[in-house]
Symmetry: C2
Subunit: 338 residues, 2 copies
């Protein structure tokens, strides 16, 4: 097996330009990067792997694959309230990818790296006889001791989400299965874009450091992740699914096919934040985050308990069964930092 690309050439042409913003990356020419911490800050670090055919479609645009891989990791940093600084990328590229594909991949990655004000600080390129496999480690910084955790939800807290829920799951369904025939072109384009290009809520995360008690990002599905929050905080959470915010596109899909509501709540890949705060702090946080262009919506409340989630839109508490979590299609997927 011989790859149709030369890896040292690739690195030099495609990836080196992505390192310029971090002098400690040494233009990707040394054994490792050396990063000087900002004074008074902790590092926040997360790693995710993505496999073609499982986490994205092999024929998705290469720039979209790169951008999603990056953003999924930045979303974890957002959930901790961190400001992203750099990423390390390992790529196992199949032979079937040509230079043109890899160029487009690197361009998409480079655009996002620039937009998010970060740098590629290192990594690895290898050939694989298997599917394209990417692993990204993202590093960010947060003022010492002020990183947001999942475990801080308090009795009486309001449970809040950023943005809208279900866009990505229906975008995935649309690409994989089918959408209601009557759904129009702009709605289809919107949902697909939300699936391919999640928006890590970095500004919201930074604002939340001031007043939120707990936060995490929604990757496994709203119900599963709210349950993670409840378990980590050892509280019960009561959700009103009627309050879960939908985009216009999702609302129109639900009008045509109401059964998709459960998919919206469990589908995952939202990469919105779910957080908790004191009732008294909600209005201020809502205004501050709203000013960045991101809506926030209260969808429930926490009470003393043992890590369970109840829905109460029927007026009666209904225990949410332990969800298996989002499996990105039929596949198993678990994060070491969930």
């Amino acid at each position: 097996m011989t790859a149709p690309w030369d890896e040292f050439g690739l690195i030099s042409a495609c990836f080196r330009p992505l390192s310029v913003a971090e002098p400690g990356a040494f233009a990707l020419t040394d054994d490792a990067a050396i990063l000087t911490p900002s004074p008074g800050c902790d590092w926040v670090v997360t790693a995710d792997a993505l496999v073609a055919g499982i986490h994205f479609f092999p024929d998705d645009p290469p720039a979209s694959i790169a951008r999603k891989a990056l953003r999924v990791n930045l979303s974890d940093l957002a959930a901790m309230g961190a400001k992203p600084r750099c990423v390390f990328l390992t790529c196992a590229f199949p032979d079937s990818l040509d230079k043109h594909w890899i160029n487009q991949f690197a361009e998409g990655l480079g655009d996002d790296i620039q937009d998010f004000g970060i740098a590629l600080a290192g990594g690895d390129v290898v050939a694989t006889p298997g599917p394209l496999t990417l692993s990204i480690t993202a590093m960010g910084e947060v003022p010492s001791g002020r990183g947001l955790r999942r475990s801080g939800v308090k009795d009486g807290d309001v449970i809040v989400v950023t943005g809208t829920i279900g866009d990505a799951a229906l975008g995935l369904d649309m690409q994989r299965l089918a959408a209601p025939d009557a759904l129009d072109g702009p709605d289809r384009a919107y949902l697909l874009d939300r699936y391919r290009h999640p928006s890590p809520r970095l500004q919201a995360g930074a604002i939340l450091r001031d007043a939120a008690h707990a936060a995490m990002d929604i990757s496994d599905g709203l119900l599963a992740d709210v349950r993670h929050l409840a378990e980590a905080s050892k509280v019960d959470i009561l959700l009103d699914a009627r309050r879960v915010p939908h985009s216009g596109a999702v609302q129109r899909w639900l009008d045509l096919a109401p059964a998709a509501q459960e998919r919206v709540l469990t589908g995952g890949d939202d990469y919105e934040l779910v957080f908790s705060c004191a009732v008294d702090d909600f209005a201020k946080l809502s205004a501050e985050i709203g000013a960045t262009g991101v809506q926030v919506t209260a969808i429930g409340r926490a009470e003393a308990g043992e890590g369970r989630v109840y829905r109460y839109e029927t007026g009666r508490r209904q225990l949410v069964a332990v969800p298996g979590g989002h499996r990105h299609g039929a596949e198993a997927n678990g994060s070491l930092a969930e």
Copy 2:
């Protein structure tokens, strides 16, 4: 495709125990790890990917695969003079791996994590229809501004290697092809062990911070990596291949098959350090590193130049052709941080 393991169960049973030494890993239960830098230190960060069938044999012992993946990264930290602190691991596991295999993998990783005094601080587990693919990001610390670089070789420096060269390459050949029939059992076991379980020269790296001008680890082959050193430092390096230190096993192999000498010099996977220092500092460094049980050997010298490598064991300078570098068999492989 359904994997015969439950990823959340795996993480909890196999990987969570590996995180205990780092409180900021939150027992792998949050979105990311939060790491507080040691006062006065920079972080040194490196990432490598390994693919079954390319970087290791799929039927290698799972504990050996885990340990090699870890050590290859720690070797990069050693080359910068850093003290390792934690790693992030992403695993794309094929369905064909059962729980027993993964248990052994995690046990091997856990043994090394304990021996090296570090922690698993996060990562990801996903299923893949392709070969086992691992990516490790290793983080270490070094006193601020004192990380070792490749680019500091000075005119007149002596060029030095730790340990012995060629063990791993001949160990790989033995496993893949054949060894001379007369090579005995202990020699075979030694070479295989050196291929499977490299020894990152962390103590040597820390000592080198005091007096070495430049350092890197030898992964692509001695000649290729000495050339990287020469290029990064913009000097010429003269090597005497007769001085390159061999283990007893390699020496006996060469006695039986002298043609293997070129393989020793170019094979790679040594994970020894090559460094440069002033002639006057060599004896002291040699004694200090020797006291840790690791021999060092002067194999050449640097002079003003343009990044070329010459051999001079014949008494005449012979330019070393630009090597393609070690390709781990027939495969392409390039590190974003070379």
